[in-house]
Symmetry: C2
Subunit: 355 residues, 2 copies
């Protein structure tokens, strides 16, 4: 990788890494598919393969590889370990979509909807498809651990990375649960919310993968700055995602634009808008989130309130602060320049989708 | 443990092991509970703790410990590793009960029903409870890996045991999936069925735990006889469980006696009964399994057919064969007598619930 800060160099670097990660995923699924010896579950595993291979920007495994290289790791066995986090992504998305009753994911059918097509016109079809999707998610989390266990690394480094993987999945699980409580109408404070985001996104998308890469390279000390970078940039990424979720198009979001609102998601955008407004408007926000199935008119009104109340600017301000501050921590890390430059660029890239 | 074959000695041994396993589970949950720092998910984890601690005969962790001791393992750290399989049991049962829409487990409310009590009268309560139960199951599988990762064993032994744990969960997942296909009305052959049982029960309940114990003791070769014992006795255990499931009382089964039939479960009892009968009776069996919600009269008629067609005797015959043959393999194992004697006794104990 060049150590220039040119966009194109970094995009080419990411594209190249993505290809190697996809190759490793294919290798893994080729091995797993051979072990399934009945045609029915064979179809489910084939669908899981397609689901995992066809979507996703591979941000998390790319971060595992980048941290590994930053701390001196050289071999290509890192790709076999890095796919573990991508398999956990399939696990989370599949179960998430069942929990949120989402029909779409990445612009395509969600996994349980795909299973409906596989099983055809059986008795109790919808429930059966959900049940099989629960099993597929359970298999994906098992594959998550298996892929890392099978990767060619010394036992001590592998155990460190495995412990971090366990931590990532645990923290993400707590976040998902809290998210469900929030959707069911339980009021969260701004602090609860930041904690939820920190946990669920920052740990899972940034800090966790970076630490896994570091551990696999044998680096176990002096990782505080890397953690700070992960937490700050992860938080910015989640806030940015919430903004896209409200103001983006269906194509940008990957599901219908009203999804977040219909799910009653209590984002910082909503909480801050309620803080900044008075009785009537505040009640409107609250009721719109509670009742679901928002009308076009109310949806536009809600967006207008979020923008005009200063809530949108507040999120934008935080995003900029967190990214700037995250970048500074990279400067303090004792590691290779090429990957440090990549991580500095990457922080901005993550929040660059326009809104 | 005494090496006598007296029932009482073995029962006392199991009771003693059970206590140590429960202590290790308590230690683990004490640690985990402290890490959850919001009250909502705190309640879910507390419920998971109660669910895991209050039920189950601890057959699987007892087998891990027995194999460990049989191959010379001495320390008490084995209990911290053995609970991993009990945590995976919570994971499987929680997700299973959602998939099967079961309200009861071990004679108490199933986990998603318990969650309904926790969340109270929220919007979309039933679905929210199921969603949170999916998350709780996902946390339990993460705890499964964490408990083994944190146990105090040398890295190489731990990695071997972890790989076996991954294998157990994978094979069980395939079995569960096939089970769902079967419940949705897809016809399974007798071979499919034996394979399903071998996978799901034999691997998960017998072979897998025994291998984990062996690996943790550092034994990695000459395990064929132990595997054969596990497969045969596991198969017998599943067949016996199917018999109890049809002919047992609610107390013996832990859920309503008609559950298996209402779920359309294609047990060997049903398949053999269909093989042994003619058109009308065969159609009756098939239709009863397909339509669910069986009447008292039809349920009694079904049991009578299974008994009189020779199908019940066929299962009984297989159970006896498998147990006898499993016991013989123990004789060939190069390990300590005390645990070998226990495993010989244990094979009979597993299929001793009366019917």
């Amino acid at each position: 990788m060049a150590d220039s800060d040119g966009q194109e160099t970094f995009f080419a670097y990411m594209e190249n890494e993505r290809k190697k990660i996809n190759d490793a995923l294919e290798r893994y699924f080729n091995k797993v598919s051979k072990q399934v010896n009945d045609q029915h579950m064979g179809k489910i595993v084939a669908e899981l393969r397609d689901y995992t291979l066809s979507g996703g920007k591979r941000v998390r495994p790319i971060l595992i590889v980048a941290a590994y290289r930053m701390f001196g790791g050289t071999g290509d066995e890192i790709y076999d370990a890095a796919i573990s986090i991508e398999l956990s992504q399939s696990f989370f998305l599949i179960h998430d979509d069942i929990m949120d009753r989402s029909d779409l994911r990445r612009g395509k059918k969600s996994f349980h909807r795909r299973v409906e097509d596989i099983i055809g016109n059986v008795k109790d079809r919808e429930h059966m498809a959900e049940a099989l999707a629960i099993v597929a998610g359970d298999l994906a989390v098992d594959y998550t651990f298996e892929s890392l266990l099978e990767a060619d690394f010394p036992a001590d480094k592998k155990l460190m990375a495995l412990k971090q993987l366990v931590e990532i999945i645990k923290v993400t699980g707590y976040g998902e649960g809290l998210d469900m409580f929030s959707s069911s109408g339980i009021k969260l404070t701004k602090n609860d919310l930041i904690r939820l985001h920190l946990r669920k996104t920052a740990k899972y998308t940034l800090e966790g993968p970076l630490l896994m890469g570091a551990y696999l390279a044998g680096r176990t000390h002096g990782l505080e700055h890397l953690k700070s970078y992960g937490n700050l940039v992860g938080l910015a990424f989640q806030l940015h995602d919430d903004v896209i979720g409200l103001f983006g198009t269906e194509k940008e979001i990957g599901k219908p634009p009203k999804s977040d609102v219909n799910e009653g998601k209590q984002t910082l955008l909503m909480i801050k808008a309620m803080e900044n407004t008075q009785n009537e408007i505040r009640s409107f926000i609250q009721e719109t989130l509670e009742k679901g199935d928002v009308s076009d008119g109310d949806f536009e009104k809600l967006k207008k309130i979020v923008a005009e109340s200063g809530s949108l600017d507040y999120s934008r301000f935080l995003i900029d602060c967190f990214v700037a501050s995250g970048k500074k921590y990279i400067g303090k890390i004792d590691g290779n320049d090429a990957e440090r430059n990549f991580l500095i660029w990457f922080a901005g890239y993550l929040v660059s989708r326009k809104y």
